[in-house]
């Protein structure tokens, strides 16, 4: 465990200042290069953890789109994550579909589920919406255990998912690419695509419509924004992206089971968003680092009190940075430009 900590704590520290500049193209490239090079220098288990960071980053980003852009708030993301994971797992294991092709299906299934859930949720806001989504997250594992679906879902036992090998083209070129390495780069490409699409979505007409709802719902509707449509759409899009993350998660972990997707996952994703900075898409990566590594660090500090250590770390973060990593990033950026100016 200790070796993992030594190596893994490095990106936690290093990644943030890089991200401060990721607003600019140069910084994005540096961060990207870092993400692309690191796996060649670390052990397979760390590559796996980095893959999980990317997957959670996608899920946190999805929540950011919902909360940051349309002002709605969900504690039920784990339900959509689970739905995506099961969609991928069932398609791979029962239908024999290629793992990469299952991801669009996971996205579509979750988009529809999110859209449908968004319809009644429209009437709710704030704490009430949080409760409704919370209910969804709590109910999901129970629903997955239902006997009716057992043939497909494997019931309480869950399903084992085969880990994909790297395409043979690498082997024929004489490169030896491990499964973990391949999956990492596959996830990285998916994450980059989703990030670019999301950034553009928020810049688009629809994105501005969503943000106008966040800022003032009544004014937005007065300006002719179809509030109902965009709110449900935001729910759908967010759920769809979460579904992709879920699908990737199933492939990476090679296993889906109802108890892997409890409310704790939803809470973790929520904390990831707060720690990264609500509504700031690059913050999703910082949030994902928090999700993957802070519980480990907490456990490392004290096994018996890991929950308490986790809580204390969390309190420290919210006291020092109530607006999350974004605050840190913007602070670093202004410091940087001051230094350059002088």
């Amino acid at each position: 465990m200790s070796t993992v900590q030594e190596v893994s704590s490095a990106p936690v520290v290093a990644a943030v200042p890089k991200k401060a500049m990721s607003l600019g193209p140069l910084a994005s490239l540096v961060l990207l290069a870092l993400l692309a090079i690191t796996p060649f220098f670390v052990k397979n288990f760390i590559i796996f953890q980095m893959t999980m960071v990317l997957i959670y980053a996608i899920a946190v980003l999805a929540l950011n789109i919902l909360t940051g852009a349309s002002g709605q708030f969900s504690l039920g993301q784990s339900a959509f994550y689970a739905l995506g994971a099961y969609t991928s797992a069932i398609l791979i294991e029962h239908v024999g579909m290629n793992y990469a092709l299952t991801l669009p299906f996971a996205a579509i299934v979750c988009f529809i589920a999110g859209f449908l859930f968004g319809l009644p949720a429209l009437r709710l806001s704030g704490i009430y919406l949080a409760l409704a989504t919370f209910a969804l997250a709590v109910a999901m594992p129970q629903l997955l255990k239902l006997g009716v679906f057992e043939h497909w879902t494997g019931g309480v036992q869950g399903l084992v998912v085969t880990k994909p090998d790297a395409p043979e083209i690498f082997a024929s070129m004489g490169l030896k690419v491990s499964q973990d390495m391949w999956l990492y780069f596959f996830t990285l490409v998916v994450a980059i695509i989703i990030y670019i699409v999301s950034v553009n979505l928020l810049k688009s007409r629809s994105g501005r419509a969503m943000m106008s709802i966040r800022d003032n719902e009544i004014a937005a509707s007065a300006m002719g924004v179809d509030v109902a449509l965009y709110k449900t759409l935001a729910f759908g899009v967010s759920a769809g992206i979460t579904g992709i993350a879920g699908g990737l998660g199933a492939i990476a972990v090679q296993f889906v089971a109802p108890d892997g997707y409890t409310i704790q996952l939803a809470i973790a994703l929520f904390l990831g968003m707060v720690v990264g900075g609500v509504g700031w898409l690059p913050g999703s990566l910082a949030g994902a680092l928090f999700i993957v590594f802070v519980p480990n660090i907490a456990e490392h500090v004290s096994k018996g009190l890991s929950g308490a250590v986790f809580g204390v770390i969390l309190i420290f973060i919210i006291f020092l940075l109530p607006n999350g990593a974004r605050q840190l990033a913007f602070g670093a950026q202004s410091l940087f430009s001051k230094l350059r100016g002088s």
Partner: protein, 292 residues
């Protein structure tokens, strides 16, 4: 028909647990406009303290009163130390604070008293109540305590100056300051009272669900459900909501085929959502008209 009556009775018995928890939830929601996700854990911790006192030989009712006082103080201290500094932080940061509190309390309790389940005594005994097999004297006592608590709260908020000041601070903080109310301390007081009420809930629930660090997980969700069904602003609504959720849960379990124990929870939650969609402010909540 007899089955129906019995199930309703049993539902009321479990409903008393939820009603108790819902009261605590509403108390704190009134004071700070947030749902405290760590409420259940705080109640569990109080219950452990009561258990510890009794292990040391303190009689039940003495321990009960001591725990009430300690919980009240604990609630005030948590507010002063943790949440007062966050008063101006974004809402979501607040929620993160509750989650942190949850993790800390749960973990400390687990380390101190470990995760094996413990018996917790009841002062009411556990004989059948009035000859009914479905409701025990403990459950009857629990319903009684809940109703007394509700009455006390009603009197406190309606007829005392502090109660009046707390209500004023909750609904219109700025106006409250302008009549000289220290709203910040009213919030702390709300935390203290919620913690104390939560500790009563914990001590009443523990004999039924057994004492262990995770005992409140499910109960709190039902407590939230009850509070929401009743409309978060009304203590009376919370108690009625608690009984409704308890009865509903039991009837669904009995009459709808295929609903085993594990589906009870999702169905109770579906009830919350249905109520919220039909009546966004709950059955007994006040509607707040928002001005543009």
């Amino acid at each position: 028909m007899e089955l129906f009556t019995n199930q309703v009775l049993a539902g009321i018995a479990t409903g008393a647990i939820y009603a108790c928890m819902a009261l605590a939830v509403v108390m704190i929601y009134q004071a700070i406009d947030h749902l405290n996700f760590a409420q259940g854990e705080m109640a569990m911790f109080s219950t452990f303290i009561a258990w510890q006192l009794m292990q040391w030989g303190v009689p039940y009712w003495v321990a009960f009163v001591l725990v009430l006082i300690l919980s009240f103080a604990g609630g005030v201290i948590i507010e002063r130390a943790l949440f007062k500094p966050l008063a101006k932080a974004p809402v979501l940061t607040h929620v993160a604070g509750f989650i942190a509190l949850f993790a800390i309390v749960n973990s400390v309790a687990g380390l101190t008293w470990d995760f094996t389940i413990k018996q917790f005594p009841t002062p009411f005994g556990s004989a059948p109540f009035l000859g009914s097999q479905l409701i025990s004297t403990h459950q009857a006592g629990m319903i009684g305590v809940t109703l007394v608590l509700l009455l006390l709260l009603f009197v406190f908020f309606r007829y005392t100056r502090v109660g009046l000041a707390m209500r004023a601070a909750a609904v219109m903080p700025e106006s409250a300051r302008l009549v000289g109310i220290n709203t910040s301390w009213m919030i702390a007081l709300g935390w203290g009272m919620a913690a104390a009420i939560g500790s009563i809930a914990g001590m009443l629930i523990a004999p039924v669900v057994f004492l262990e660090p995770n005992m409140m997980g499910g109960v709190l969700i039902y407590g939230f459900a009850a509070a929401v069904v009743g409309g978060l602003s009304s203590p009376l609504g919370a108690v009625i909501g608690g009984f409704l959720v308890g009865v509903f849960e039991n009837l669904v379990g009995t009459y709808i085929p295929g609903v085993g124990n594990e589906l009870k929870l999702p169905i109770a939650l579906a009830l919350i959502i249905t109520v919220l969609v039909v009546k966004p402010h709950g059955l007994f909540g006040r509607t707040i008209v928002k001005r543009v």
